[in-house]
């Protein structure tokens, strides 16, 4: 118990870092991922190519490497960023590739018949997108998107190696300092992650059930 009392401030700080890193990176990933998905389904070849290239690159690169490029590579083109900002960028840019795929699969999961029926009653492209395709895509996209975002929370742990004192960094620090309590340290950190991932999974489940369309 004493261990928790002693280290509570550090653990709380670390937990809040993980949380804020997750929230900011998640927002970035959602926005960028949606834009990329729009690019990927657009008829404009370079945009499609760009988005495909982006997705393939980020999907096939370890997040740690992405971190390297953001933190130490960007300065090579004269854009130095702070470490927290850099971590948000790294996690956000990386996750955007997966968000893009989730959103795209959501759009593709809308049965073609729905869009055709919309066109057949005379809706224009924009109208059929707004009235028929997107509302349905959003519903299918909730579960995979939720999973991507939960996976992202776990991925923020890599920021520990890049000057962000989040939960995993605190695990490293405390286990160096409290060799004997290492199991407690581990339990505290695991609990910290679960405090984010489990409720998130629950919320995703709820939203999923709420927006589910009867088919």
């Amino acid at each position: 118990m004493q261990f928790f009392v002693d280290n509570f401030p550090l653990l709380r700080e670390a937990f809040l870092k993980t949380l804020s890193l997750s929230v900011l990176a998640g927002l970035l990933a959602l926005v960028l991922g949606t834009v990329l998905a729009a690019f990927r389904v657009s008829p404009i070849t370079p945009l499609r190519g760009l988005a495909t290239f982006y997705v393939e690159t980020f999907r096939n690169t370890p997040l740690t490497v992405v971190f390297f490029f953001i933190i130490f590579g960007l300065p090579q083109i004269d854009f130095a960023v702070g470490f927290f900002t850099g971590s948000v960028l790294a996690v956000g840019l990386y996750t955007a590739a997966f968000v893009c795929e989730a959103v795209r699969s959501g759009i593709n999961a809308v049965s073609p018949g729905q869009a055709e029926a919309a066109r057949a009653i005379g809706l224009t492209f924009g109208q059929s997108l707004r009235e028929v395709v997107l509302p349905q895509a959003f519903r299918t996209v909730v579960p995979p998107l939720g999973n991507v975002l939960i996976a992202m929370v776990k991925n923020t742990s890599i920021a520990a190696g890049f000057a962000v004192t989040e939960l995993t960094a605190s695990l490293q620090r405390l286990s160096n300092a409290n060799g004997g309590d290492i199991l407690l340290v581990l339990a505290a950190v695991v609990a910290g992650y679960m405090l984010i991932t489990l409720p998130a999974a629950y919320v995703v489940g709820r939203v999923e059930r709420r927006v589910a369309i009867l088919r």
Partner: protein, 278 residues
Amino acid sequence: GCSSDAGNQAEDAADNSAAVETDAEFEAGTTMAELNEAGAITIGTKYDQPGFGLLDPSGTPEGFDVEIGKIIAAKLGIPEDGITFVETVSANREPFIQNGQADIVVATYTINDKRKEVVDFAGPYYEAGQDIMVAAGNPLGIAGPEDLAGKNVCSVEGSTPAENIRTNYPEATLTLFDVYSKCADALTNGQVDAVTTDNVILTGLVAGNPEGFELVGNPFTEEPYGIGLAKGDQEFRDFINDTLEESFEDGSWADAWDATAGAISGTEAPEPPAVDRY
């Protein structure tokens, strides 16, 4: 067309090794006898400390710590190919000794009382001190740790220097990576104002980029590097201490320095420290 500075230098690299004691004799039952009998020893060292313990591209560890390890092995009558180096990081040096995963640990291992509770130390074989590295020309005029207040200073998560700054100079902003090479990059890029750790490590970093970095040269702690071994093995500890003192005497200690840390930093071997037989 495939030549690079790195390749050219590798070609000139020299080779040195301590002479193996072929007829070493030890009292039966001692650790020395066991190791001598087995003809093998496992030495824990760091793989990411320039000048002290680092893997070369072929995967062979090199550095001052490694050479010290070799001197001890040689004294035990163990040839170089009988030595197994394992990587010990800061967090697992004590467990490795306690669990017998390493016979000795030579890993920029600062002797302190807390660690003495679980392991024993031979040595010290080197006296380092925490120092500060800044950008060349020292634009912020940092002369010592007091000047770090309000500055962004880089070190490694979980290390003693970081802990020291955190407790004694709380006004400094700490940026903590997992290795010093990242700190050096961050300093180059202007992402941090200074890097702090043991001077020997900083010397190595400055050597690589003399136009970019400079050492403040004002060590503000004492970091005696010891050799970690199982607690209570007094005979073994005495043996290592003897070996160290012998190497101080016969110049092999200085040779080891010149071939490793000295070669990188271009500094002469210092006075050897006094062994502490506590």
